[in-house]
């Protein structure tokens, strides 16, 4: 059993193709692993019946010679993706009991390719959080511990990374609005990939901030990420912001050859007070890429310091509007007040249904869009967002990719930052600028800190140039030779 759940997607694909294993066996092993990983609280809904049916269908497909990269591969699905007839609540109380009549395009793409759904994964409520502590279904535990102390898996895709790092899924869907794929990947020694905004359809993804939300993947290595990304990506007429461009063969980009490539090192990312070992790891990353034949150049992204404030205006503004539909009228939670009015029902429902972080962001968003404040906040933020985007555009005239740390720290303990929203928001300082610019990015496991916790390095690429991000990620992965695994304490 352990063997099967430790396989990478690419390895399983080859064994499945050769007939050495069946998807049924692989799925059985994973269903058992999911059941045994209850301590992690990664899954908030399990779908073993669906998984087994899909596994059998996948085995038939493989036999018929119709296999694709993801055929027969058991994966977990972040609760933010709509899955027909299956729990879909973005881990919020306000969507209590909601099971959609429809399937998100991203998950449909996976099922069309023959992938197997193990269940729905925990996340920060409506993807708002960096530690997976805001979920209505309780916090997710990081498989990696600081000695005997629990750590958070990062967020918002905490369930996605914990399931993959904890060998309870071979890959997982995730979503990134300001860093929700890359930061948790960094905290868990997994490979996180966020494509260019518009590469994946947002149809059926519970919206947080529409202009930033983008689906991506969590896998145990770069190749697996390339295989899974190719499956979920693609134009969709049902999402006006998805872009009609062919999806390249991402796996083919993993040539290992980055000779002559120019890698930018943004000077503004040298944060005062950042742990020395993160600076050291970044420096190590630079050396690895140089050794592989890349040319490393210093670049400037002068508006970087405005990225977080900009993000915390734009994202809550959109969220305040996107979350207005949760009003107790048509689905999910409804709280009524005896003899109360419609407004009373709204207030009671939303007061009971949303957690503190969601309420905080709705209030911030409502404020920055209000008459008299719009110009000073939202409009200004949009202008700064453009400047941040222009910074990258200029930089990418010089370089092919950018290397930075993924997060300013390793995984921290639960509760350590949950009372200080600003300290929590700082987690996304390196990931948010690229989100604002809609760029593709990854987090590659690159080393361990003094406490034995994983640290990731971030690769950013030009819009639509996911291939370069994969290529550089692959080289970094090989150089880092990151083979550490968390001690299995949760089974």
């Amino acid at each position: 059993m352990t063997e099967l759940t430790k396989l990478k997607i690419a390895e399983a694909r080859d064994l499945l193709a050769k007939g050495d294993i069946t998807s049924r066996e692989l799925t059985d092993a994973h269903i058992a692993a999911v059941d045994a990983a209850g301590e992690l609280n990664a899954y908030i809904a399990k779908t073993p019946e669906i998984a087994l049916a899909q596994a059998d269908a996948a085995d038939a497909k493989i036999k018929a010679g119709d296999a694709k990269g993801m055929t027969g591969i058991p994966v977990g699905i972040k609760d933010l993706f709509s899955t027909k007839g299956v729990h879909t609540q973005a881990c919020s109380h306000i969507l209590d009991g909601f099971k959609p009549e429809y399937e998100s395009t991203v998950t449909q793409n996976l099922w069309d390719d023959g992938a197997v759904m193990l269940g729905k994964l925990n996340m920060d409520e409506f993807a708002m959080g960096s530690s997976n502590e805001t979920s209505y279904y309780g916090p997710v535990k990081n498989p990696w511990r600081r000695g005997d102390t629990d750590t958070v898996p990062g967020g918002s895709s905490g369930g996605s990374v914990a399931s993959v790092a904890g060998f309870a899924a071979m890959g997982a869907t995730a979503s990134d609005t300001g860093g929700s794929i890359r930061q948790p990947a960094s905290f868990t020694g997994t490979f996180g990939f966020k494509p260019t905004y518009g590469r994946c359809s947002r149809y059926g993804m519970v919206a947080f901030a529409s202009s930033l939300d983008q689906a991506g993947t969590i896998t145990r290595d770069v190749r697996d990420g390339a295989i899974m990304m190719e499956s979920i990506a693609g134009f969709d007429a049902k999402d006006s912001t998805s872009v009609d461009m062919p999806v390249p063969n991402f796996e083919a980009a993993l040539t290992g050859d980055i000779r002559g490539m120019k890698i930018g090192i943004p000077q503004e990312y040298h944060l005062a007070g950042m742990p020395g070992e993160i600076e050291a790891l970044w420096h190590q990353g630079i050396e690895w890429l140089k050794a592989a034949g890349a040319e490393v150049v210093d670049i400037n992204l002068p508006h970087t310091k405005y990225a977080l404030p900009t993000y915390y205006i734009v994202a809550p503004a959109e969220a305040s509007s996107n979350l207005a539909r949760y009003d107790g009228v048509r689905y999910g939670l409804r709280e009524t007040v005896e003899g109360g009015s419609l407004a009373d029902m709204y207030e009671a429902t939303r007061a009971a249904g949303f957690g503190d972080e969601v309420k905080r962001r709705i209030m911030i968003g409502t404020y920055v869009l209000s008459a008299g404040y719009y110009d000073a906040y939202y409009l200004k933020a949009q202008k700064v967002r453009q400047l941040i985007s222009d910074d990258f555009k200029r930089a990418f005239q010089q370089v092919d990719a950018i290397l930075t740390p993924t997060a300013p720290s390793a995984a921290f303990a639960p509760g350590e930052k949950s009372d200080d929203p600003l300290a929590m928001y700082l987690n996304d300082v390196f990931t948010v600028p690229a989100s604002l610019a809609g760029l593709p990015g990854s987090s590659v496991p690159a080393g361990l800190d003094a406490n034995g916790l994983p640290l990731g390095l971030q690769i950013l690429g030009k819009p639509w140039d996911e291939e370069t991000v994969f290529k550089v990620s692959g080289v970094l992965e090989e150089a880092a030779a990151f083979t550490a695994e968390p001690k299995i304490w949760w089974r």
Partner: protein, 494 residues
């Protein structure tokens, strides 16, 4: 003449601006594929997008964009090749998304002009400020259950054009004429069915008053007025209300009001203090709407002849008078019926259009419209087709029947749907033009009325009519009146 409201002390002018919400004729809604059919069972025309299910995204229906552009072109407006959909945020049970997708800063159509007809050939140009596209909300039904409000989402997401006028109207009549004209244009181009009873067109009426020469007063907005008559009435009572308040030393509160046609009054809905802060911002789910000149030219090329152009043609080329031409073009179906009638009459009578146009128009607006009106029918329900009407007109033209007999024939046609020729044949109504036969009758009548003949000859020539009447009576109206006149005069003159 200026429309003035006489207060106790002063005369007041009224200043009116209208926001017309017109439902775009389209099979599908603005941002979803759901049907827009009117009158369906509640909540049967609702897509996942219209119900704002989690993760659902709007996608623009290109046909609605096209109709917006066509409407803009039809009123000679500036077309914006770049426009943006914004979210207008507010909570209501029949607004599933918690926001309405509308256009705020960058509407699809800019300034244009609607020329309204004020009777007696007088017209006035009313400025249009902008046209923007937006989605409709659902419908809350408060009268279905003692405790609950029911919500019908069939209308949710239906495409509307909001046509915003400038405050260019100065009387209820001008406002009424503006709505009427706009409705005519929309129906001509097929952008909106103009059905005000079904809510396909409704008006928000902005009214303020001022003493002559004073700056604009504070306005009140009367929401959702759904007929031309109510628009006029609402303005009258609202302007009067404002004048009374001002003359009593009060001030007008800027507020939203509702017109109650039963009580003939407007009532406050909400004041400015309770007004929503709509927190408009560009909808991040939608890209800006952009198109090129070719798209606009295609829209222009797709437009039919517009009412003003048609009216001018009917007057200039066909010699119709202003009033008749105005009546004919006011409704698209009437204008179409007239054109068919004229074509067929030209064919039947083998005469030039200009020679028969006035007669055809008079028959249509007099006889047919009169009969339809009496029967409570619309032109679409007429039992007498354009072709049948043309046959009747041709029978008059070629002298087969007199105009007098034609009226009787038409009555039978209207009742039975039979063709004119058949009726004339069956009832033996053919006009008598045989001079011999008529002459014999004239001689009889002259012989029998010697007294009148003497009076006539003594100078009372008006008696001519009496003799003509006697001849017509004797022939049951079938004598050709021209022939009768021709023969009668020399005999009477002796």
């Amino acid at each position: 003449m200026t429309y003035l409201i006489q207060g106790a002390k002063d005369d007041f002018e009224v200043v009116i601006g209208l926001e017309i919400h017109a439902q775009i004729t389209s099979n599908a809604k603005l941002f979803s594929g759901a049907s827009t059919e009117f009158g369906a069972e509640p909540n049967t025309q609702v897509s996942l997008v219209d119900a704002a299910m989690p993760g659902m995204l709007p996608t623009i229906n290109a046909e609605c964009i096209r109709q917006g552009v066509r409407t803009g072109v039809a009123i000679g407006a500036a077309i914006n090749k770049f426009s943006v959909f914004d979210r207008k945020n507010y909570f209501y049970a029949d607004l599933p998304q918690g926001y309405q997708i509308s256009q705020f800063k960058h509407p699809i159509v800019g300034e244009g002009i609607v020329t309204v007809d004020l009777g007696d050939g007088k017209t006035k140009d009313i400025g249009v400020e902008r046209i923007h596209l937006e989605q409709d909300a659902g419908k809350s039904m408060h009268d279905q259950h003692p405790q609950y409000t029911y919500v019908d989402l069939n209308r949710s997401g239906v495409a509307l054009m909001e046509i915003v006028s400038k405050p260019d109207m100065a009387s209820p009549e001008e406002a009424g004429a503006y709505v009427t004209k706009l409705r005519t244009i929309l129906r001509y181009i097929g952008a909106c069915d103009g059905n005000m009873e079904q809510g396909s067109m409704r008006a928000d009426v902005n009214v303020s008053v001022r003493r002559a020469g004073e700056p604009l007063g504070t306005r009140c907005e009367i929401k959702n007025v759904n007929s031309v008559r109510f628009v006029r009435q609402a303005i009258e009572v609202e302007a009067r209300r404002q004048v009374d308040i001002i003359e009593e030393g009060g001030t007008i509160d800027q507020e939203t009001r509702l017109f109650d046609p039963n009580k003939g009054e407007t009532r406050s809905m909400r004041s400015k203090e309770e007004a929503h802060d709509y927190r408009y911002f560009p909808d991040p789910d939608l890209l800006p709407v952009e198109f090129d000149d070719a798209f606009i030219e295609d829209a222009r090329a797709s437009l039919p002849e517009l009412p003003d152009a048609k009216k001018a043609r009917l007057m200039d080329a066909l010699g119709l008078n202003d009033y008749t031409a105005g009546v004919l073009v006011a409704e698209k179906e009437q204008a179409e019926f007239f054109e068919m009638l004229l074509d067929e009459t030209v064919t039947f009578a083998k005469k030039d259009a200009s020679a028969v146009a006035s007669k055809a128009a008079n028959w249509l607006t007099g006889d047919l419209f009169g009969a339809l009106n009496k029967a409570g029918k619309t032109i679409a329900e007429t039992p007498v087709s354009a072709k049948q009407g043309a046959e009747l007109l041709a029978l008059i033209e070629d002298g087969t029947i007199s105009g007098r007999i034609a009226k009787d024939v038409f009555e039978v046609m209207f009742e039975t749907g039979k063709n004119a020729g058949v009726i004339v044949e069956e009832k033996g109504l053919k006009q008598v033009s045989d001079t011999g036969a008529i002459e014999a009758i004239i001689d009889e009548i002259i012989a029998a009325n010697q007294g009148q003949v003497e009076q006539y000859r003594a100078g009372k020539t008006k008696l001519m009519g009496f003799f003509v009447g006697q001849v017509m009576k004797a022939t049951q109206g079938k004598a050709n009146p021209g022939v009768v006149n021709q023969l009668l005069k020399p005999k009477l003159d002796g």
